[in-house]
């Protein structure tokens, strides 16, 4: 619908075309309806309209409909409240200043809705770029209220200034918190989630009450675990409601994690770590709660300050680590795969960041965690095996893998890990662990892992051989990634991917190239890459095509095409390749001479193949001609069979 924008006349509803009048009339009727679904529908339509169009006509629409919207607020309870919030935010996000009375409506809505319903609106208002300060204060107050109540209720004695001076005891919030368990849980979860979302935003309210919020999160977690013993009536009622409540625990742990981005007084930070440890230790914690506790712990650990003038961990963190590792050890033995897996993910992340810190290395090697991690390579659950592969890979990169004597690993130990991972790669029945092994191998090769670097050729040959036989195309694709890293190490980095960069030939010096080609032939990289070029799974073929194109660019000056191209070796290889392309992949390529490889690279139409592969594999089926054929053929044939796919 186009409004009378051209003339800049005031938007008169009577100027609208008849169909628009009819639509608006229907929306008006629906907004006045007593049936909630009808109100919801009308609000949704308006949300979409205001979300997508801005013009004089939407202003006119607002003028006409806002009284009806405001009338919804007079009802108790407010019908379709979350659709109403969606609409108001949609209008506020578009061009708030052009909608008359919008800020007043928003303030009015904030005060009319119940604390739980008002939460999403308050968050939406605080996210707005441009909004009156009074409204922002009101909105922030709504988000803080529940936490302020908890803090007040749990206080043993009148303590330091709370979250909201003078407003802590808002009766509506206290009523909601105490009315029933589900209302209390709902309100607290919303408040925690909304504040967590607000925390990292640049437009979050300033000053941000970091310390009281930390205090509130810790208090809520203590109420949930039963370790807090509030003396007030409200406090003990809250304690009874929250104890053991997984939903609040998850929300509070997420929030606590988000708060790690700010700082807090040392005393509070100590409390944070102690409550996190309490959750990690507690047998009552569910697997999801434990996962969140691990995530929050990681965030706090990584944000903990370094000791000035020293690159090692600060004493508090060190102390905490000493307590944490035995807990992690226990969790790695959990009967629940979800817990073992979350534990391993935590360990991987921690090692990735702190593998070089002496304090961490010391604490880790003194524990049984590395040994347990290695044992989990044989876990019955494939997800856990995959995480164990990633974790041991990471530990080994930092020389932290398990040793019986507790010393950092010597070469022999390392070799056995390599053998074990190769064994997993060639025998594990599931794709995840095999994929994880290929990723670890690629990382090891890229980072120049000491033991890989010792005999990189043999390492790459072994890995590629195992990957080439794999049924999982992602393992084969990862194999090509490894091959590419190897190529780059031999021949230098790939060129810039910037489309505007001037493309200069980046060929390798002939001596280096000849040597590299010899190596590549020895590790049978070409057999792997050419086979992958005709792989039935498109991403593998695409990756292989890219790899061979890169190689061809590097090899440009090497030898003349004629001399190698005429050799009988090349002819037979070309024939084999053609058979492969036709789908017969039984026959091996055999040993290739570097010269033949270069000739082959020139003779295969790699660019053409790349263009074909760039189209999705159903492009033929999706073509108009194919659709027409479908339609012609479908007449009356398939009608009855439609449900049989499920």
């Amino acid at each position: 619908m186009r409004g009378p924008a051209e003339g800049h006349r005031s938007p008169q509803a009577c100027d609208w075309p008849a169909c628009a009048q009819k639509i608006v009339g229907h929306i008006e009727d629906s907004l006045c309806s007593t049936a909630v679904p009808q109100v919801t529908q009308a609000l949704s339509v308006l949300t979409t309209a205001f979300g997508h169009c801005h013009g004089l006509w939407t202003q006119g629409l607002w003028v006409r409909l806002s009284p009806l919207v405001a009338r919804l607020l007079e009802k108790d309870p407010v019908p379709a409240s979350h659709s109403l919030v969606d609409l108001l935010l949609s209008v506020a996000r578009s061009a708030p200043s052009s909608y008359r009375g919008l800020w007043e409506t928003l303030a009015q809505t904030l005060s009319h809705l119940s604390p739980t319903q008002a939460g999403p609106l308050a968050l939406g208002i605080l996210k707005l770029q441009d909004c009156p300060q009074a409204l922002r204060t009101q909105a922030f107050g709504i988000l803080l209220q529940p936490l302020a109540c908890v803090l007040e209720a749990a206080a043993q004695a009148p303590g330091p200034p709370g979250l909201l001076e003078g407003a802590a005891g808002n009766s509506m919030t206290v009523d909601t918190l105490l009315s029933s368990k589900s209302a209390c849980v709902g309100l607290l979860c919303c408040a925690l989630a909304h504040l967590g979302l607000l925390q990292p935003l640049p437009q979050r309210p300033s000053p941000w009450p970091q310390a009281p919020l930390l205090g509130a999160a810790v208090t809520i977690l203590r109420l949930c675990s039963g370790s807090a013993a509030p003396t007030s009536d409200v406090g003990s009622r809250l304690c009874a409601i929250l104890v053991g409540c997984g939903r609040v625990q998850r929300a509070a742990l997420d929030f606590l994690g988000a708060l790690s981005q700010g700082t807090g007084p040392q005393e509070l930070v100590t409390q944070v770590f102690s409550v996190l440890l309490e959750y990690l230790v507690s047998p009552e914690s569910s697997s999801m709660v434990l996962k969140k506790a691990f995530q929050a712990t990681l965030r706090w650990l990584l944000s903990s300050p370094k000791t000035p003038g020293c690159c090692d961990l600060d004493p508090h963190t060190q102390l905490f680590l000493r307590e944490l590792l035995p807990v992690l050890q226990k969790r790695l033995c959990s009967p629940c795969w979800e817990v073992r897996d979350s534990g391993l993910e935590f360990l991987t992340q921690m090692t990735r960041h702190w593998g070089g810190q002496a304090g961490f290395r010391q604490a880790l090697l003194a524990s049984e965690v590395p040994e347990l991690t290695k044992q989990l390579l044989r876990d019955p659950e494939s997800y856990v095996r995959a995480s164990a592969v990633t974790a041991t890979g990471q530990l080994s990169s930092w020389g932290l893998c398990a040793t019986p004597a507790g010393h950092e690993c010597p070469g022999a130990q390392q070799e056995s890990l390599l053998v074990e991972l190769l064994h997993i790669l060639s025998t594990d029945s599931e794709g995840f662990p095999r994929r994880a092994v290929m990723q670890v191998f690629t990382e090891w090769l890229r980072d120049g892992h000491a033991d890989v670097a010792e005999d990189a050729e043999q390492f790459v040959a072994g890995a590629l051989q195992a990957a080439s036989r794999d049924l999982d195309w992602e393992v084969r694709a990862q194999g090509l990634e490894l091959a590419l890293v190897f190529l780059e190490q031999l021949l230098g980095q790939r060129g810039s991917h910037c489309p505007y960069a001037v493309a200069l030939p980046e060929t390798a010096p002939p001596g280096v190239l000849a040597q590299a080609l010899q190596v590549l032939c020895r590790v049978q990289l070409f057999e792997f890459a050419f086979r992958a070029l005709f792989d039935c799974d498109r991403p593998v073929a695409q990756k292989s095509c890219d790899l061979l194109l890169f190689l061809r660019a590097k090899a440009a000056p090497c030898g003349s095409p004629q001399e190698a191209g005429d050799s009988p070796n090349v002819a037979s290889v070309e024939a084999t390749l053609q058979r492969w392309q036709a789908g017969e992949q039984g026959q091996p390529l055999g040993y290739l001479e570097p010269g033949a490889v270069v000739a082959l690279l020139r003779s295969v139409d790699l660019e053409g193949l790349r263009d074909t592969l760039a189209e999705s594999s159903d492009h033929v089926e999706k073509s108009p001609q194919s659709l027409l054929q479908d339609m012609l053929a479908a007449v009356g044939v398939l009608g009855e069979n439609e449900a049989d796919c499920y």
């Binding site: 939460g119 789908g583 089926e621």
Partner: protein, 599 residues
């Protein structure tokens, strides 16, 4: 007014993308979270923005329930939980929990492989999503929170498929998911108890069909396979790794054994072993026959079915190959099809529906020249057969389930509108219940009568028992007491206890009533007549004639007075306390009938 609201986000007058929002007594539950096989754009997943646009899903939903592992019921789950963002619990049965991630992974690989989709959910997301799953056992009541509870029932259809009862207080909804009311080769029939829910949400795939015997279809299938193999041809059966594949494997295995056939049967991809592993692991979920024979021989340990290697496709001689995926749209099944399509001795059997645009769909609709990648034209000379083995309840089965559960209302999903309309009328006629069939995004609202639990004080019960009447569940009995509401609880207590608990003093309340009697005698004499009449009628009560001339029956006081205007009429003033109200009204009506004539 309490109500149940149901909004399908998918599967409303449609098959695919099952996702139904149910709001019951203030709790919001999402039933299934599927994808649509027919779409590859935004429409393949349910429109979750319908739930909320600016809020978080976790705050709006109390839980998600997945009925079974088919992708049209769980395919959008990682997208929903990890990409849109849902942190709450997801409930499903143990076999579904085990098999669901395999199929999701399979789906992801095909989507990424085939379409090169970059913004698709990852393996890590599938894993994170599965960590939110809570497994439920059959017939176990799971308390989601203090008010909401769910319970799973056996649904047949596929391994681990379940129907779910969702209950808050006395209000309940049953969601069937997909189910099968007749047992097949590896699964049993669906069953539910007479739970009389307020609403039964049932699938209606075969709303108008009465399906022929499955035996006929099986015989037909075996005949076709046998004929092809006998003439030296190869049979390709494109399947999805789990479900129908296992059923067909059992079928061929038994047939091969009986006929002593030698042609090899292969099952492609590593998924087979894993799939069969799960069938073995969850043997209690299969049918009685398989469970019984399990001790002697595990039906899922196939003697004739072997793992397929890519090189086998080029081997000469007859063979049968089960290959994934089922619609010939990518991967190994398509690769084998391309090799075998040119030979008229070979056969491809499609045991399920194929989405438009796939090679499977093209050959089923009769196309014989297919344009493949790189401008190649593939001529299809092999025979193409379609066979339906899907395990849904037919019209008879759906009616049977409605009869079994005895719901107050029925809502149809997972079917085509035209067929639903027919079934809706049939259900309304036969069971005299309302039947609904909302489209996607349309909300059905059902008012329910609230049931408020009331506790009865022990004192009150003891008093009743003291009267010698034992409680009998089948005979309702009237019980007097005072209803008090304290701490959001209702209790029925004796009036004395109520007064005590509430700290109130007792007030005496008397009702009075005038009864006019035609009697010319003096007031005293009228009183005597009243006394003797009542004495003779009310033998169990204490009737007294007091010295002041008034008559009492328990707390009821009767006084006779002369009428001010009519000397031939006497006025009886009857007064009683509210405790004796019943007796008081009885006496009044008795006296209104007049006194017996003096003999």
């Amino acid at each position: 007014m309490p109500e149940i609201r149901v909004t399908p986000l998918g599967a409303g007058q449609d098959v695919g993308r099952s996702c139904i929002l149910v709001s019951i007594a203030g709790k919001n539950v999402m039933l299934d979270c599927g994808m649509h096989m027919g779409f590859s754009d935004d429409r393949r997943f349910p429109d979750f923005s319908y739930i909320t646009r600016s809020g978080r899903l976790t705050d709006f939903l109390d839980c998600v329930i997945i009925s079974h592992f088919h992708l049209d019921h769980c395919g959008a789950l990682p997208y929903f939980s990890e990409m849109v963002g849902y942190d709450g619990p997801i409930y499903m049965t143990q076999p579904t929990q085990a098999i669901c991630p395999i199929l999701l992974e399979d789906y992801r690989k095909i989507a990424v492989d085939k379409k090169g989709e970059a913004n698709f959910f990852t393996s890590q997301m599938i894993k994170d999503c599965m960590k939110k799953v809570v497994a439920v056992h059959l017939h176990q009541t799971v308390q989601v929170d203090d008010e909401l509870e769910i319970k799973a029932y056996y649904a047949g259809h596929v391994l681990g498929a379940a129907m779910f009862q969702i209950k808050v207080g006395s209000e309940s909804v049953v969601y069937t998911g997909d189910y099968n009311m007749t047992p097949d080769r590896h699964l049993g029939a669906a069953w539910i108890d007479k739970c009389r829910p307020n609403l039964l949400i049932t699938e209606s795939t075969y709303a108008t069909t009465i399906r022929d015997s499955k035996r006929c279809r099986e015989r037909d299938f075996l005949k076709k396979v046998h004929e092809t193999v006998e003439r030296g041809g190869k049979v390709l059966i494109p399947v999805f790794a789990l479900g129908r594949a296992q059923e067909l494997c059992i079928l061929l295995e038994t047939f091969w054994e009986r006929m002593d056939l030698k042609a090899p049967i292969y099952f492609s991809t590593g998924l087979t072993e894993k799939a069969n592993h799960y069938y073995k692991l969850f043997i209690p979920w299969t049918n009685q026959k398989i469970r019984k024979t399990f001790v002697q021989r595990n039906m899922f340990e196939f003697k004739h079915v072997k793992a397929f290697d890519r090189a086998f496709a080029d081997s000469p001689g007859p063979m049968v190959v089960f290959a994934t995926p089922g619609m010939l749209h990518a991967g190994q099944s398509l690769q084998i099809f391309r090799k075998w399509a040119g030979n008229e001795k070979n056969m491809v059997i499609m045991p399920g529906y194929c989405v438009q645009g796939t090679v499977g769909h093209k050959i089923l609709s009769g196309q014989r020249k297919l344009e493949m990648e790189g401008r190649q034209v593939l001529e299809v000379k092999m025979q193409v057969e379609y066979m339906s083995f899907s395990a849904h309840a037919d019209a008879k089965g759906i009616m049977q389930l409605v009869g079994q559960a005895e719901p107050e209302n029925v809502l149809l999903v997972h079917g085509e509108a035209k067929k639903m309309e027919f079934l809706k009328q049939k259900i309304e006629q036969e069971f005299r219940v309302s039947c609904y069939m909302p489209a996607n995004g349309e909300t059905v609202t059902l008012p329910t009568s609230p049931s408020i639990p009331v506790g009865i004080s022990l004192g009150l019960l003891k008093r009743e028992l003291a009267q010698g009447l034992l409680p009998d569940s089948k005979k309702p009995r009237l019980l007097h007491g005072t209803l008090i509401m304290k701490d959001s609880n209702f209790r029925l207590v004796s009036s004395e206890q109520a007064l005590k608990e509430l700290g109130l003093a007792e007030h005496q309340l008397r009702f009075t009533c005038r009864v006019h009697l035609h009697d010319t005698r003096k007031e005293q004499e009228t009183a005597v007549r009243v006394y003797s009449h009542l004495k003779s009628v009310l033998k169990d009560h204490c009737v007294q004639h007091l010295p002041d001339g008034s008559v009492t029956v328990e707390s009821i006081l009767i006084q006779a007075a002369a009428h001010s205007e009519d000397p031939g009429t006497k006025v009886l003033l009857v007064s009683w306390t509210y405790q004796d109200e019943e007796l008081g009204s009885y006496l009044t009506s008795l006296l209104k009938k007049g006194l017996p004539q003096a003999s």
